[in-house]
């Protein structure tokens, strides 16, 4: 059955927590972002590449409006419906 597919190019999207553009523009709040490391006594640096990772949390809610694709400054997102 045809469905939504959101591909994230993690080689391009390296600092999603600092950028947060797709996370905040999505009308259905489809994305999620999580720290990749939890260090004792240290707050994770949001500008450190790879310290946070963008993921698709609620992919089935995506309406394929492509707002995230357009707003992404590093062209890391591809959204299809097939």
């Amino acid at each position: 059955m045809a469905h939504q597919r959101i591909e994230i190019d993690h080689a391009k999207c390296t600092t999603p927590y600092a950028c947060k553009k797709c996370l905040q523009i999505c009308p259905m709040a489809v994305f999620g972002v999580a720290p990749m490391k939890m260090e004792k006594f240290k707050e994770t640096d949001e500008n450190e590449p790879g310290a946070f990772k963008l993921r698709v949390a609620f992919g089935d809610k995506c309406i394929v409006c492509n707002e995230c694709v357009e707003v992404c400054p590093v062209h890391a997102l591809t959204v299809t419906y097939a």
Partner: protein, 283 residues
């Protein structure tokens, strides 16, 4: 009967049992297990299952939806169940719990990358002795925490209630003496709040149980202003066109009380769920 009340053997509402808030209570260590922040030892499994539930919904595969949803429901039931709490019970919880501290919301951080950096922005609350250890994990408590007095806590809740946030209590597993480890009291908003979203969009019951109350309107007092309709996050209230009064579907009501606190003419009261036989098992 609320299954928490049953599980913890309390006479009245489980979270209002003072024995569940003793300073001596701390999370029970699993033998041989290592303490992990936020009780996230099962986090990987949770995210894996959530991914599978989402994928199954995307593919509209009913069998998979049922299978993975059940597994996720069970996981939440055992680890991190939440329950909706109205403002008046939040006040009572502030009397029982010690210490109390406001901090950044982990859901809005994950879903919208909202970084709450100071006391004006903090929208989540940590309860109990665990908060004394917050400095160990600054990534969880980004921007720090602010310890509050009972009075400050009430004013803080008033602010978020006025803004339209649903309050919920969070349990992180079992503490000593078989009591719930009550770790947080949060101010929540759909869709940023993950428990709200998983319950409402995916029907996973134990991520967030309905509260102990339901909202009952008084049609003689209701002026039909619509404030409650706008404040309800559960789609339980609509304006009845013919009468121009608020109609509340109590089967959908989670008992958060936002309609009650927002009503300018006090036309809505929160009644105990148990009062209505047909609602006793609606959680």
């Amino acid at each position: 009967m609320c299954e928490f009340c049953e599980k913890f053997g309390t006479e009245d509402i489980w979270y209002l049992d003072p024995k569940g808030h003793g300073r001596q209570l701390y999370r029970k260590q699993v033998a041989g297990g290592r303490y992990v922040p936020e009780a996230i030892s099962y986090r990987q499994r949770r995210e894996e299952l959530m991914g599978l539930v989402g994928q199954a919904h995307m593919e509209k595969d009913q069998a998979k939806i049922q299978e993975y949803s059940q597994a996720l429901d069970q996981l939440y039931k055992e680890n991190e169940p939440c329950q909706v709490v109205p403002l008046k019970d939040c006040y009572k919880l502030l009397e029982y719990a010690n210490p109390i501290a406001s901090m950044s919301c982990i859901c809005r951080k994950q879903t919208r990358a909202l970084d709450e950096r100071n006391a004006d922005e903090y929208s989540c609350m940590g309860l109990g002795t665990g908060m004394f250890k917050w400095e160990r994990w600054p990534e969880r408590y980004r921007g720090g925490v602010q310890f509050l007095s009972e009075q400050q806590g009430k004013e803080w809740f008033d602010k978020w209630d006025k803004a339209g946030m649903v309050h919920m209590i969070m349990v992180y597993g079992t503490a000593s003496e078989g009591r719930p480890f009550i770790g947080g009291l949060c101010n929540c908003d759909y869709p940023d709040c993950i428990p709200l979203r998983i319950r409402l969009d995916y029907g996973i019951q134990h991520v967030l149980l309905k509260g102990h109350y339901v909202a009952i309107p008084d049609y003689d007092l209701c002026t039909g202003c619509g404030t409650c309709v706008q404040r309800c996050q559960f789609g339980a209230i609509k304006m009845e066109v013919t009468t121009q009064k608020a109609n509340i579907d109590v089967f959908k009501c989670f008992g958060c009380g936002l309609c009650e606190t927002g009503c300018p003419v006090e036309a809505i009261t929160l009644e105990r769920r148990e009062k209505y036989p047909a609602l006793r098992e609606e959680w």
